[in-house]
Assembly symmetry: C2
Homo-oligomer: 516 residues x 2
């Protein structure tokens, strides 16, 4: 067996069996190895940012890494923006990146570049393989790095660079079996100290596994017992929500709103979350948004066992075993009139089926978060790193991971413009993804942020840089071009009908929601 075959076999032995691929010539031996394994799934994407975003979505739904297969430094570079989001989601992800044969690099052929240098900024682990015989051991290390309990900052993106001669040379199977990941527990002293300090003016801020169903249950016990709020962060990787679960709020986006929220908080407890900071810097606002009077307690880091820490904290407080105050099921009526972020949220709340998966990007999708809590059980996969263009690819990975669950991608038109090629993969793989494009024909956030500088007189040139009209993008045409049926809607009733049509359509569907 050659190195490529040993690599694929080793990945399969470790339970890694899915690849989002955009290969080139230097990856042909990897393609050959994949071709030989029926149980190793390969999903072709037209653009590498779809590969890395899809692997992120797959990981958020399965807890295990998918691989990507990318072509040299330039191909990897196209995947870096969504590697950034995956890093911020702490998603396990393994990039398999081809490289020229070791002896060939020195000739600096046109596609040569510093592949490891491209990988470094967004990877927790980078290695360039040095021999075909050790490639399977490299694969083991990559899997372990992707699953390791890394800090939030590092994330869990592992990039293995595979010179062509390491793929084509003689390989060796690695011993199978990856030791289970140990996640550290919060200490008893920390838990009991925090349990004693919490009260009505505490705020429990939760991220990571703390937003799993079990984590949310435990957070509900704590919040109910203390009479305090429990909320998740602005950009959580995954949140389980719906009727029967405790009500969980969410940290706002703009720093002023966070400052307002924290004004009445004396005690901030961090459970897998980091202390709130401003997303961007502003001249007259602090970076650290926690007020001076507020004590901050770190219950547990995200890479530790967040759920256990929440359970321990609830137990230490003597909270009842189950929260009582949970979301009651109450679907909204389909709203009348024109569409905006809120009426879209209501219509989604009225229509989407149980067990839906929601992915978001920039745009108005965030408004659906509170609405859906009372509607159906769902998994919410948020944009994490702020690099827009992630929502569509994440939907691809989630749909591949969970073929029996409907996926809704709520995408601003600006963000959807970056990686719209995900639609083609959705059509090819007949993925059950309904994309909703929030079409306001602008980079709306930039217009807001520009005025926040104090500029009320926006010049023509500045305005043109926030404007996505001239020409209007026709998202239904784009979808059709990629083999995805779709429709344009302007009212709640039209959106509701389109959602029914999407549900009755095999494979993907796109709805362009024209915002009023």
């Amino acid at each position: 067996m050659n190195g490529a075959e040993s690599l694929v076999q080793t990945l399969l032995n470790a339970g890694v069996d899915c690849c989002f691929a955009n290969p080139g010539t230097s990856e042909m031996h990897m393609v050959e190895a994949i071709d030989g394994h029926d149980d190793f799934r390969a999903v072709l994407c037209l653009f590498e940012g779809v590969c890395t975003g899809a692997a992120d979505g797959y990981a958020r739904m399965t807890g295990k890494p998918a691989t990507t297969l990318l072509h040299l430094g330039a191909g990897l570079a196209n995947g870096v923006a969504n590697m950034h989001n995956a890093r911020r989601a702490s998603s396990p992800l393994i990039n398999l990146v081809g490289e020229h044969a070791v002896h060939h690099v020195a000739y600096d052929a046109p596609l040569t570049s510093d592949v490891a240098g491209v990988a470094q900024p967004m990877s927790a682990w980078v290695r360039t393989a040095t021999s075909s015989e050790s490639l399977s051991l490299d694969a083991i290390d990559a899997v372990q790095a992707s699953l390791a309990a890394n800090s939030d900052h590092m994330g869990n993106v592992a990039t293995l660079i595979i010179p062509a001669d390491c793929a084509w040379g003689e390989g060796r199977n690695a011993p199978s079996g990856i030791p289970p990941v140990e996640r550290a527990r919060a200490s008893v002293e920390v838990v009991s100290g925090i349990a004693n300090r919490m009260g009505e003016r505490s705020l429990l801020l939760i991220d990571g596994a703390g937003m799993s169903e079990e984590g949310v249950q435990q957070a509900g016990r704590i919040a109910e017992h203390c009479g305090c709020q429990a909320i998740t962060v602005t950009f959580p990787a995954r949140v389980e929500g719906g009727p029967g679960l405790p009500k969980i709020g969410r940290l706002p986006y703009f720093p002023e709103h966070i400052i307002d929220l924290l004004a009445d908080v004396d005690h901030l407890v961090l459970a897998g979350a980091r202390s709130p900071v401003s997303f961007f810097a502003y001249r007259n606002l602090p970076s650290d948004l926690v007020p001076e009077h507020c004590k901050v307690d770190l219950l547990v880091h995200r890479h530790m066992d967040v759920v256990a820490a929440l359970a321990d904290l609830a137990d230490a407080q003597g909270a009842p075993a189950e929260p009582v105050e949970v979301n009651l099921k109450a679907r909204p009526a389909i709203p009348e009139g024109p569409l905006n972020a809120h009426t879209i949220a209501l219509t989604l709340g009225a229509k989407i089926p149980e067990m839906s998966i929601i992915t978001t990007d920039s745009g108005g999708g965030a408004a659906a978060f509170p609405v859906l809590q009372t509607c159906v059980s769902h998994s919410w996969l948020n944009l994490t790193g702020g690099s827009i263009g992630g929502g569509g690819p994440v939907a691809v990975g989630a749909a591949v991971a969970c073929p029996d669950r409907p996926v809704y991608a709520l995408l601003g038109d600006g963000g959807a413009g970056y990686t719209i090629q995900y639609l083609w993969t959705a059509a090819r793989e007949k993925l059950n993804i309904t994309s909703i494009i929030y079409s306001n024909r602008s980079y709306g956030i930039l217009d807001v942020e520009y005025r926040r500088l104090g500029i009320n007189d926006v010049g023509d040139k500045a305005a043109s840089l926030f404007d996505l009209s001239n020409p209007d993008i026709n998202w239904v045409d784009l979808a059709r071009g990629y083999g995805v049926p779709g429709v344009r809607v302007r009212t709640g009733a039209e959106l509701a009908a389109a959602l029914s049509e999407a549900e009755n359509t095999d494979g993907p569907y796109l709805i362009e929601a024209i915002l009023a």
Copy 2:
């Protein structure tokens, strides 16, 4: 004036007055500064790879840098693949990349990443500004770095990272004026030595400014005098061609073909070109493709004065002042029957107007290179670094630079899939770009390369990774979605009619050429 204003004013003073932009919140002060200058053009792109590719095309046509305006590390990352191509083209390019305010970086807000690390692999020069007062001096240095006589390997991409506080703080105008770039001359000894050694079995290999009209003329003098061939490289950044100019061939792509070509060559003279190496490594082929019996002479590096070296060499040989053997004007007939790379080339040769600019990517476009030599005066902008997806964006930049010249983008369907968003900018700016998509519904090169491994039995999974059907992409629908009219054609006659329609259409047009 703030730092951003001083930066824009300094760029204008240095003759840099065009920006391909995809800004975010951290670049709002840059937007404000651009808004204040009517003579600083800002072109919005939906994706950063369009920005960097367009800046490359602009530079190839003007010889001066355009800027990009990009958003933090993730936004820059989306531009890296086409920065790679720009690096290989030695195109002057200045990336202006926003960054969090200096005091804010340490808070590691979600969009924080190592911006300089992202820039490094494809940039010859990277600087993170440290104060608003020195930002204009940074701009001067960036302009100089983009125009410096750098080695081929480094290229001329300069990346200036601008923390928001350096943009909003008090700025100072830099002294205007950039010293002219001095390009070293080839020494008299080198020139006369090579002049004496050249003969019929020499091959003159030319790149860089050597493929300008003047360079081609000088190369023609030499080739005619010695009775040898003069050819350009496989991936030249820009070639001037057409009737009245000497016939210039081109190095093939596949290593076997290069080996065949060089078998009868005893003496290789490099004029701005690098010695031929295989694009990829193969198990049974050398990386260095020059046969042992062949002497290699370096006349002049690409970053030196290539045209002067060619002129000096021709003079040293006593060649006549003007070449006699030039391309005679002979347009082909419009071919009958189905389309392939050759019949498309013939149809283009029959139809395209004088002074056309041609951009290429992967796909069959290369077949048009020899055909067009006898048809019309034209500038040929090739894919340089092998990172596919450059051809459309480069067309945008060329069209912005040369509004009076028609631009033809010859794009394989695989490559066009990476950065198809260029169409929207073409529509918005009413750019005179006719895109021809070579629609063979496959990554054709990969099928070829896979079989070159000796695999004749291509499995279903491997085949699926080279296949762009299932579903077929409808490029006319995609174009319409971005506001660009278009048509699908299957024969030479249909293509000819579509080319006429494109010529009569204001702004861009797309032709999907279905290959037989």
